[in-house]
């Protein structure tokens, strides 16, 4: 059980892909224009990572070292295509909103990185868990960054939720700041860089404070989100 807890803490906080490893920044920066977009792509990535890790781990001893990257990419690309087709078939508007970024999960280096550094060395169940937790870590960053950009840029939260959950979910959209005229910078790419910078700084600050107050507290770290 301890192993799983460590994997979870690593994925969500200690080795968070979005704000610590800084891997896969292309989708992080491009898709985080709203909570819904960010969280949807994050979850799609998490599912791909879980299954990629889960598929590679059982056969890790069968794959010769020379062709392992080719096999890994093959596995990842197939899984991404499966996700792409599924979203296209059952959530068409979401597919439109995420567009090119779903197929681009293939080249998100974080997926290959986890397959190579974790799944290729561990048993299937912890591997799947690791992939999913790393993906959730990325999802949380994408959702928070999306939330900040959406709130500052448009004054709303959860706009576009109907794209993911169907028209009946439209009531969930929150107009936090009524009659807001919008702050374009937050929606455009610079907003993503500034927002991500702030998140990284906030995480570093929180980490620093912890080590200063209780130097041995790393074992009891709780995910902040």
């Amino acid at each position: 059980m301890n192993q799983y807890k460590e994997i979870a803490v690593n994925g969500l906080w200690k080795q968070n892909t979005g704000v610590v490893q800084l891997l896969g920044l292309c989708p992080t920066l491009a898709v985080s224009t709203s909570i819904v977009n960010g969280a949807s792509l994050g979850l799609a990535t998490a599912v791909v990572m879980a299954f990629a890790n889960g598929a590679v781990s059982p056969v890790r001893k069968l794959v010769p070292a020379e062709i392992r990257v080719a096999v890994f990419i093959l596995v990842i690309a197939s899984l991404v295509t499966v996700i792409d087709l599924t979203i296209h078939g059952f959530a068409e508007p979401l597919h439109k909103a995420l567009g090119i970024f779903i197929p681009l999960i293939v080249v998100n280096c974080i997926v290959l990185a986890r397959v190579e550094s974790f799944a290729a060395k561990n048993t299937p169940v912890p591997s799947m868990f690791d992939g999913f937790m790393m993906g959730l870590g990325l999802t949380s960053v994408l959702a928070i960054l999306g939330g900040i950009r959406e709130l500052v840029g448009k004054g709303t939260l959860l706009s576009g939720i109907d794209l993911a959950l169907g028209p009946q979910a439209k009531g969930l959209v929150m107009h936090v700041i009524p009659d807001y005229h919008g702050f374009l910078l937050a929606i455009l790419p610079p907003g993503a860089f500034i927002g991500l910078g702030c998140l990284i700084a906030a995480r570093n600050w929180a980490e620093q404070r912890k080590t200063n107050v209780t130097p041995s507290a790393s074992g009891s770290l709780k995910p902040a989100h």
């Binding site: 069968l62 794959v63 010769p64 020379e66 062709i67 080719a70 096999v71 093959l74 596995v75 197939s78 295509t81 499966v82 087709l85 599924t86 296209h88 078939g89 059952f90 068409e92 508007p93 439109k96 919008g182 374009l184 929606i187 455009l188």
Partner: protein
């Protein structure tokens, strides 16, 4: 030595082939089971878009099925053949839905969907795809503002050639400060599409 290289490489190659086989099979399976839902949801999305500009009261045929292909045409701005859908009431022509491309947007092509009633007036215009600046030029989307509804009911008869321009250029179409190039491109494209319709009206409903 040579033999061991051969043996080693064929073993490696077969492993790769085995993986390729398994995952290709998986893809083929998923492709098959998602094919129908994908086609259905794409048709649904298209129908929903059509409903916005050609309300159901305006026709009683299946818009998706009643279509013709139009070869690349300068007035429509299309480089590839496009599909035009026709609305009819009891087989009498009611309206046609055309796709047009405005090539001179601020950042490239703006794809439009234009519905023209049989009498030559516009039933509605929607932007299908564009790359205009978010927050400045994107008020052409129906989700952002009602600007695109300015075209409803317009026709070549109602507005003369000089009127088919934004107000800044002496025309009659309003625009929002900060982005003139975008509406200018759309007004021009809609105008040209109406001209296309006037010249090809008979052929379009054949």
């Amino acid at each position: 030595m040579t033999e061991s290289i051969f043996k080693h490489s064929s073993k490696t190659a077969f492993t790769l082939i085995a993986f390729a086989f398994v995952f290709t099979a998986l893809l083929a399976y998923v492709f098959n089971i998602t094919k129908a839902p994908i086609e259905k949801s794409e048709a649904e999305a298209r129908k929903a878009l059509f409903r916005q500009i050609v309300p159901e009261s305006m026709h009683n045929n299946d818009l998706l099925k009643d279509s013709i292909s139009i070869a690349p045409n300068e007035l429509l701005g299309n480089k590839e053949p496009i599909v035009a859908n026709r609305a009819r009431i009891d087989n009498a022509p009611a309206a046609v839905i055309l796709e047009a491309v405005a090539p001179d947007g601020y950042k490239g092509n703006i794809k439009l969907l234009i519905a023209i009633k049989f009498d030559g007036s516009i039933a509605g215009v929607r932007v299908l795809a564009h790359t205009e600046t978010p927050g400045l030029g994107d008020y052409i989307e129906i989700a952002k503002s009602n600007w695109i509804k300015l075209f409803d009911g317009e026709s070549l008869q109602k507005t003369d050639d000089r009127g088919w321009a934004v107000k800044k250029d002496g025309g009659q179409f309003d625009y929002m400060a900060g982005a003139t190039i975008t509406p200018r491109a759309i007004v021009k494209a809609v105008h040209k599409t109406l001209q296309y319709y006037a010249a090809n009206k008979e052929a379009l409903f054949k």
